[in-house]
């Protein structure tokens, strides 16, 4: 048999199937397993519900690698995505960096069952970050500066980092790290505690602020544009879904996203509540 994780056998998917009509009774909103994505999915879900769409939520499922297929086979209908991330997932060799370049290329690489809707201005970039002390001590401002010290640095990040990024950093910046540590959600803490010297964290991660980390600039754009973009299964989505999600993308910007993430991660407000407030404030629900 093939790799079960890439088995797209639609027949095995329990929810609506890929061949379902546009009037599919139920829209399944999924999310990856990190709070920001859950927040975005909540926004999508609540907005759709406000429009009378029947929604099922499947949040916190896993990483892109796992859930992309779920959208493709129709088990999920809608997924908040990041255009750059999705592109490098589909084509690791792609060098597109700007929002439009990325989206154009993305549309050509996307499976035929899928489409992306409008990208929002809101971005959540990947970054390589270090502590202020490290930055000062080795005078680091860009990723290029890391080249001279990388062999003494341990790098941390979510498990995907190793597979997706390590090679890119080697090719583009010539970085060979001393050691790779899968620090996952603790990356920011690991950087702070010194368990790793540099780590892959998201720019909207409030812990960058809390812990006073310094994201290094990415002049060669290994980290491409990361605009929040709804990925939908064509068959599962109707026009109501499309217009609703596009309306959201129009209103969502980075500052707003960072504000919301502060509430979620620092104030411990729950994503659905935060989502609801944002929708109300923006007149979307």
């Amino acid at each position: 048999g093939g790799d079960p994780l890439s088995d797209t056998g639609a027949s095995a998917a329990p929810s609506s199937t890929g061949s379902g009509s546009a009037a599919a009774a139920k829209v399944v909103v999924g999310s990856a397993n990190f709070p920001e994505n859950v927040l975005l999915a909540s926004i999508y879900s609540q907005a759709l519900q406000a429009k009378g769409v029947q929604v099922e939520e499947k949040f916190n499922i896993g990483s892109r690698e796992v859930i992309y297929d779920q959208v493709k086979n129709g088990a999920l209908t809608v997924l908040p995505e990041y255009n750059g991330g999705l592109l490098s997932f589909l084509d690791p060799k792609s060098t597109a960096a700007s929002k439009d370049d990325v989206n154009t290329e993305l549309k050509s690489k996307l499976a035929s069952e899928l489409e992306i809707l409008d990208s929002s201005p809101a971005e959540d970039n990947d970054s390589l970050s270090v502590t202020k002390d490290t930055a000062t001590k080795y005078s680091l401002t860009t990723i290029e500066d890391l080249a001279k010290v990388a062999k003494d640095f341990a790098v941390g990040g979510p498990p995907e980092f190793k597979k997706r990024r390590e090679a890119q950093f080697k090719d583009v910046y010539g970085l060979t790290f001393k050691e790779w540590k899968p620090t996952g959600d603790t990356t920011a803490d690991a950087i702070k505690s010194g368990a790793v010297q540099v780590g892959n964290v998201f720019t909207t991660d409030p812990k960058i602020l809390i812990n006073g980390l310094v994201p290094l600039q990415d002049p060669k754009s290994v980290f491409s544009a990361q605009n929040v973009t709804p990925l939908v299964n064509k068959a599962g989505a109707n026009d109501t879904v499309r217009t609703t999600l596009n309306a959201i993308s129009a209103k969502l910007d980075t500052a707003g996203l960072v504000d919301m993430m502060k509430r979620v991660a620092v104030d411990k407000d729950d994503p659905p509540a935060v989502a609801k407030d944002w929708l109300t404030k923006n007149g979307l629900a």
Partner: protein, 223 residues
């Protein structure tokens, strides 16, 4: 099968800090330390309550409730509380997981020794400690070992959760494989864990031969 070949055939998987030997060692280390810690707590306690009969009901109820403790929850909670950088977040939940079977089996083993035997031992002039160590423990040994075996296997299988909070061990292959959709890695990790668990079973089978007197094991028809 080719996933296994993909995984085990990849030389990169055999060296360095992310290689199988290193991961295996980490996994064994967690497991052994957790098992030793829980033995240190559960065996003396089990012997004590089994021998004196005091506090047994309470301890057994507590141990049963402890079986319900979700390891994942404990792991993340402890990381939150004590931070990353130590292995305690994995050790403590694993210890909590291992204590109930060891404790309950030790207690039941000691308590289950026939009164006759206890009587005979005291009647011959053995002192309390001698009765415990020279008679009760050897006779209860099969049950004590059974408890240890169950605990060890659960610990080995559950130590995979450590990977979720960024710690090492064979769970890395599973968690990372899940995150990156690297199926060979997931399956390879699972196979390694299962193999380790089987080795543990085997070790206990051997241990049983060595530590349990044939007079006890064959009497009760144990293997």
């Amino acid at each position: 099968m080719n996933w296994l070949i993909d995984f085990f055939g990849d030389p990169a998987n055999w060296s360095g800090p992310g290689g199988i030997p290193a991961r295996l060692l980490e996994h064994v280390e967690f497991s052994v330390v957790a098992l030793l810690l829980s033995m240190l707590i559960a065996i003396p306690l089990g012997l004590l309550i089994g021998h004196t009969g005091r506090g047994a009901v309470l301890v057994v109820i507590a141990a049963n409730a402890a079986r319900a403790l979700p390891t994942l929850g404990l792991v993340v909670l402890i990381v939150l509380l004590v931070g990353v950088g130590t292995t305690w977040p994995v050790l403590l939940p694993l210890v909590a997981l291992a204590i109930p079977p060891i404790l309950v089996n030790t207690y039941e083993g000691i308590r289950g020794v026939e009164d006759d035997l206890r009587d005979a031992a005291y009647g011959m002039g053995l002192r309390g400690g001698q009765v415990l160590m020279k008679v009760l423990v050897p006779v209860a040994m099969p049950l004590i070992l059974l408890g240890l075996r169950v605990a060890a296997i659960q610990v080995v299988a559950t130590a995979t959760v450590a990977a979720y909070v960024g710690l090492g061990g064979l769970g890395r292959y599973i968690i990372d494989g899940l995150a990156t959709k690297d199926f060979p890695s997931t399956i390879g990790g699972a196979v390694l864990v299962a193999a380790l668990a089987l080795v543990v079973q085997l070790c206990f089978a051997l241990l049983q031969r060595v530590v349990v007197s044939p007079g006890v094991s064959r009497r009760s028809g144990l293997r």
